[in-house]
């Protein structure tokens, strides 16, 4: 079935349990789907744009209220919607980073943080994760000292992942922010895997900015995200335009250069807004998500030779597994090679693991039901048994 010329109708989440590590938290709510149907047209949210003409002032639909609610929900003072978390890193980097300035990231940072620094002319310096793949305040202290020696000054900005994309580990953002503020370094908490997934409190962490991803973690369409700031930093990053045309004398009101004026103007914004009440509610029940994750993780770890590379017990539903001692042992002799694993999962109605991967792979159980978690757990065990891998009986 097609929904346009050459465009197949996507039915992945209707037909399969989808455990793709980056898709789970962005799965739309029914309200978001409905809102997109009504507001899919390009400038659809702009019907009632009145002076001062800016997206976050529109009251119908309640975009202004949404901006205030998001800031309050994250315990920050101001928020803007952005086309993806990366545009949040970019806006902040463009404000604080000049050519040759050192900027702190971590050894587990997302590539878009590096690109934001590069575009601003900065130089990235990574805080190394420890042997458990966790970034600590002590490591941040050591890296800042190292930077001071190398550059003769502290970093101008720090971008720290709350939960990283590689292991799904939780890092000490609060501890790092405390250390960074000792040298007046503004801190971005990259909440791409936490904002909309579990409770996030910007002031409690002591950060200057919280960045969230709509399509990764707020049940919103792509590209969408949130940039929230303290009042002090908002005045800097959300400063208004001062430029003027020399021939026409035109000025551009209260548009914000770092936001390039208005940001999300149609389906992306309205989808994020429609999901927001559900997202606010679901973060209160993260324990339930971890319980479902445990069901699947226990089943996987019951297969001899399987290891979890992420911190354990899990504090997040996205995990990195090492099955080189289990499922990968079958791949070499199997007629489908490594594809037998994803193929067997697919036959059971499970998608999201990279086809062919049997050594190291990631999965995310966020937002599946308990029944689906049990189904998933049984499927992993059944595939192991079917291929002669020893499975320990659960106690």
């Amino acid at each position: 079935m097609r929904c346009g010329s050459g465009i197949e109708t996507r039915q992945v989440d209707e037909l399969f349990i989808n455990i793709d590590p980056i898709q789970a938290g962005g799965r739309l709510t029914p309200d978001a789907m409905k809102a997109i149907i009504a507001y899919g047209d390009g400038y659809s949210v702009c019907d009632n744009c009145r002076r001062p003409n800016r997206l976050d002032y529109i009251t119908k639909p309640p975009i202004a209220e949404f901006h205030k609610d998001v800031a309050a929900w994250l315990n920050m003072d101001a928020a803007r919607t952005v086309p993806g978390a990366r545009r949040g890193f970019q806006a902040v980097s463009q404000t604080y980073v000049n050519k040759g300035d050192p900027v702190l990231v971590t050894s587990l940072s997302h590539y878009t943080e590096f690109l934001a620094i590069e575009e601003a002319g900065g130089i990235a310096r990574e805080i190394p994760a420890d042997k458990n793949k966790v970034v600590t305040a002590d490591a941040a202290t050591a890296t800042i000292e190292k930077v001071k020696k190398e550059f003769g000054r502290p970093p101008v900005l720090a971008i720290i992942d709350h939960v990283d994309y590689q292991y799904g580990n939780v890092h000490d953002v609060a501890g790092i922010a405390k250390v960074a503020h000792g040298d007046d370094i503004p801190v971005i908490c990259n909440g791409a895997y936490t904002v909309g997934i579990l409770p996030v409190d910007g002031k409690c962490m002591g950060v200057d900015f919280v960045v969230g991803s709509g399509h990764k973690s707020m049940a919103a369409p792509a590209p969408s995200g949130i940039l929230a700031a303290t009042a002090e930093r908002a005045a800097e990053v959300f400063r208004t335009t001062a430029i003027e045309g020399d021939v026409t004398g035109r000025k551009f009101g209260i548009k914000e250069p770092e936001m390039m004026g208005c940001t999300l103007m149609g389906a992306t914004l309205i989808g994020m807004m429609a999901s927001f009440p559900h997202v606010k509610e679901r973060v209160k029940h993260f324990e339930r998500e971890l319980a479902n994750n445990r069901i699947v993780m226990d089943a996987l770890l019951s297969v001899d030779g399987t290891r979890v590379l992420s911190e354990y017990p899990r504090k997040h539903t996205m995990s990195r597994m090492d099955t080189s001692g289990s499922f990968d042992q079958i791949a070499a002799a199997h007629r489908k090679k490594g594809f037998y694993f994803s193929g067997s999962l697919s036959e059971r109605g499970i998608r999201g693991i990279i086809p062919g991967a049997t050594k190291v792979w990631k999965f995310n159980t966020y937002s599946i039901t308990r029944k689906q978690a049990e189904y998933l757990a049984e499927a992993f065990v059944a595939i192991a048994r079917e291929n002669g891998l020893p499975v320990r009986e659960s106690s």
């Binding site: 989440d13 209707e14 037909l15 399969f16 349990i17 799965r27 709510t29 029914p30 789907m33 409905k34 149907i37 009504a38 059971r348 109605g349 499970i350 039901t369 029944k371 689906q372 189904y375």
Partner: protein, 70 residues
């Protein structure tokens, strides 16, 4: 006298409303497929929900037919 429907006419507005209502009902059914994938085995609550949604859909489509084709 031929009947002319213009923007905002209450009759054509009703037909448009019904179209959106039916799409929204189908969206709720879609969500049910997602919640129960991959087996789509419905428990008693889900069966009741599916029944209610399908009844609504039938009513909405019947009303739409009446509005558009009269």
């Amino acid at each position: 006298m031929p009947v002319h429907y213009v923007y905002g006419d209450p009759v054509s507005k009703r037909a448009v409303d019904l179209t959106f209502q039916a799409i929204y009902t189908l969206t709720d059914l879609r969500a049910l497929f997602r919640k129960t994938a991959p087996t789509h085995e419905l428990d008693s609550d889900q069966r009741a929900e599916a029944g209610r949604l399908l009844e609504n859909l039938e009513r909405q489509v019947a009303s739409l037919r009446q509005e558009m084709l009269r």
